[in-house]
């Protein structure tokens, strides 16, 4: 039941407060145990009793923190806002108007699944962390509150037609992930790439006797295949590498499965809603009208596998990878369709991608060749290295840089479709960012001395979630785009946040 008077959360919410306390204070807990044990060892107490005392003390502190948090957390809801009051010594009261709420997420941690309880997370714009978590609500209550918030927002800021349009199919599935897609995502996420050097680093930290044990364990099967000598050494390293790569890939797929298992993105009348998770289930929804920027990113492996990651950025600044509204494993065509739908570009033809001015190439060459040359000359003067060494190093740098600059320049482009500006960049991986000009807060037009000579400029459009930059575009185009951005900002009747 949603309270209209000040009320506490249910007793089950203590589990959430406990988890929060652990997340916030685990470093303190570790310091408490290590520092305490070192102090107590000096007082010549029994080893086991030291640890017992410290563990009991730590648990007691956690319990106090949890009960304290629950006891002094109260909330109520009226027809316009959610109000939260918490704390006793450091009291705080928060009023979160329904109009200002950017996102309403429903998460179901593993420990709440048998209890049919969920956490409702409310986020508004301009905060670096999530504003409110209403823990252990009954599913019906959470759903009712979410409906109330969304209903209020729709009636106050959007034309009624958006909710009643007949061409929408409520609950239509836009994107879903099967197990093959999860494997693809797992293989292409950076976790798989990072895990390998991390594991290698951990192995290198082992004491010598432990490393010998590991090597013997790994070499065991090889002894049966070949007997001693160089082959065994090479085989050992190859086997080790293969095992580490395999381990990192499997762990990456496992982590992906934990997070994205059963992923479904549905399109409702005015809301995009996604649900995913193997143990803890998270349900996020976003209203397209609240989406400020859309970022479509593909790393080299994702390009190879034909997938990418679409991130819908809102004015809420807690848009890290864990809490952002991210659509994983989505192909380029489907991503484009979704972007068009959110930006409401309709059936208009997309303008072709336009390259930035080749003046960028000139600038890159100047900075990439002349500046390193000066640095190398200085290094030669200071260190007294041989001229031949410096010359060879300079040549290698220049060649490498020319290849990089040419490739980078050819991949940096932009286009305008109706009022949507998109910028694409990237060398191996690609990143495409698009914004609707009606959301522009500020426009900057930059010119360096070099750009001024070449009659090009860089235009930056600021939106509530960040900015998009169009580098090295012709001056006349820069002026047109700036004027267009300001015109749209001043005249639009669409809600932009």
């Amino acid at each position: 039941m949603i309270p209209s008077q000040w009320s506490r959360l249910s007793l089950w919410s203590m589990l959430s407060f406990l988890v929060q306390a652990l997340k916030a204070g685990w470093q303190l807990l570790v310091a408490w145990v290590i520092g305490g044990s070192s102090f107590l060892q000096r007082s010549e107490l029994e080893g086991s009793s030291i640890w017992m005392a410290l563990a009991a003390g730590g648990l007691f502190l956690l319990a106090v923190q949890t009960v304290w948090s629950w006891l002094f957390f109260r909330w109520r809801v009226d027809s316009q806002r959610v109000e939260i009051a918490k704390g006793l010594l450091f009291r705080s009261q928060l009023q979160l108007s329904f109009d200002r709420i950017q996102r309403v997420d429903v998460t179901t941690p593993l420990w709440y699944r048998p209890l049919s309880r969920v956490n409702l997370v409310l986020e508004s714009a301009g905060s670096s962390q999530k504003e409110v978590t209403l823990a252990a609500l009954r599913i019906d209550d959470a759903e009712a509150l979410r409906t109330q918030i969304r209903g209020h927002q729709a009636s106050s800021t959007e034309p009624a037609s958006e909710l009643t349009a007949q061409d929408h199919d409520p609950g239509d599935i836009v994107h879903r992930l099967d197990f093959a897609a999860l494997v693809k995502i797992g293989l292409s996420t950076p976790t798989a790439l990072v895990a390998f050097p991390v594991l290698w680093g951990l192995y290198a930290q082992l004491p010598n006797d432990r490393r010998t044990q590991v090597e013997n364990w790994l070499q065991g099967p090889l002894h049966q295949l070949a007997d001693g000598g160089l082959l065994q050494q090479w085989g050992f390293w190859i086997l080790t590498l293969l095992m580490l790569v395999l381990l990192s890939l499997v762990s990456s797929i496992a982590l992906t499965t934990l997070r994205w298992y059963g992923f479904v993105l549905r399109r409702h009348s005015a809301v995009l809603r996604q649900r995913a998770g193997l143990l803890s289930v998270r349900e996020q929804d976003v209203r397209p009208i609240k989406v400020q920027q859309i970022v479509y990113r593909r790393n080299p492996l994702q390009r190879l596998l034909g997938i990418g990651q679409l991130k819908l950025t809102q004015a809420s600044s807690s848009e890290n990878e864990k809490t952002a509204f991210v659509v994983p494993g989505i192909g380029p065509e489907q991503a484009q369709w979704l972007q068009d739908a959110i930006h409401q570009t309709g059936d208009r033809e997309h303008d072709p991608w336009q390259s930035i001015s080749n003046s960028w190439y000139g600038m890159a060459i100047r900075f990439g060749l002349v500046f390193p040359f000066l640095v190398m000359t200085l290094a030669f003067w200071l260190t007294g290295a041989s001229a031949l060494t410096m010359l060879l190093a300079g040549l290698a740098w220049s060649l490498g840089f020319l290849v990089w600059a040419r490739r980078r320049y050819s991949l940096w482009s932009w286009r305008r479709n109706a009022d949507v500006i998109a910028v694409r960049s990237g060398l191996l991986g690609t990143r495409e960012v698009s914004v609707d000009l009606c959301r522009v807060q500020r426009v900057d037009m930059h010119q360096s001395p070099y750009q001024r000579r070449r009659r090009v400029a860089t235009v930056v459009f600021w939106v509530p979630s960040g900015h998009i930059q169009l580098p090295f575009i012709p001056m006349s185009t820069a002026r047109q785009l700036t004027a267009l951005g300001m015109w749209r900002a001043a005249t639009t009747t669409r809600a932009w946040m």
């Binding site: 929408h168 807060q441 500020r442 426009v443 900057d444 600021w462 509530p464 004027a483 267009l484």
Partner: protein, 209 residues
Amino acid sequence: MLASTDNPEFSPDQLPEPEPRQWHSLRPVQAWLECLGNLPFALILTAGIWFASMTTRPDLIGHPALAATVTALLWFRMLIYPHIALRHRGYAVRERDIVFRSGWLWRRISLVSYSRIQHVEVGQGPMQRQFEVSWIKLFTAGGALGDLTINGLAAEEAARVEQWIGERIDSHARALQQALGNDEDVGIAEPDADAELKTEIQAPEANKP
């Protein structure tokens, strides 16, 4: 489509020019105030540079010519550059937006529409109060980096600008409310079809009031 709201299309050639025809300059005393603020840092950094120079090998980092060059650059940046930079700063208050330009070598023009301003703040530091200079800060929803600060306005001028912006925000809100009620566009004049598009950010001298 997820939603269906109006989304009219404009030809970029028919939009008004982004730059104002006349820039308003800032109070010259602002440059001296900035120099005064920079002076303690310049002195401390200079002492640090020469101390490092005298305690390291003279043929490497401790070369006196290197220390002299760094000191000269530092003093130029701290005590001379503010005067040059101020000459290249200017602002213009227009019907729909406020424009601010800055930068000597790397130039920048920033435009903020009144419809996007969340609130306005006018303030003075202790030294600014002595010389009746103020700063005005326009807060947008774009976070700290999306805000615009104009430093060095005359105090009366800042108050007038603040009042003007407040009135513009109110009138835009009324126009928006009316447009939403009548299902039509915001009542702002059509863009000038004959607007001339310049080809370069003009030199500051050409636009001085």
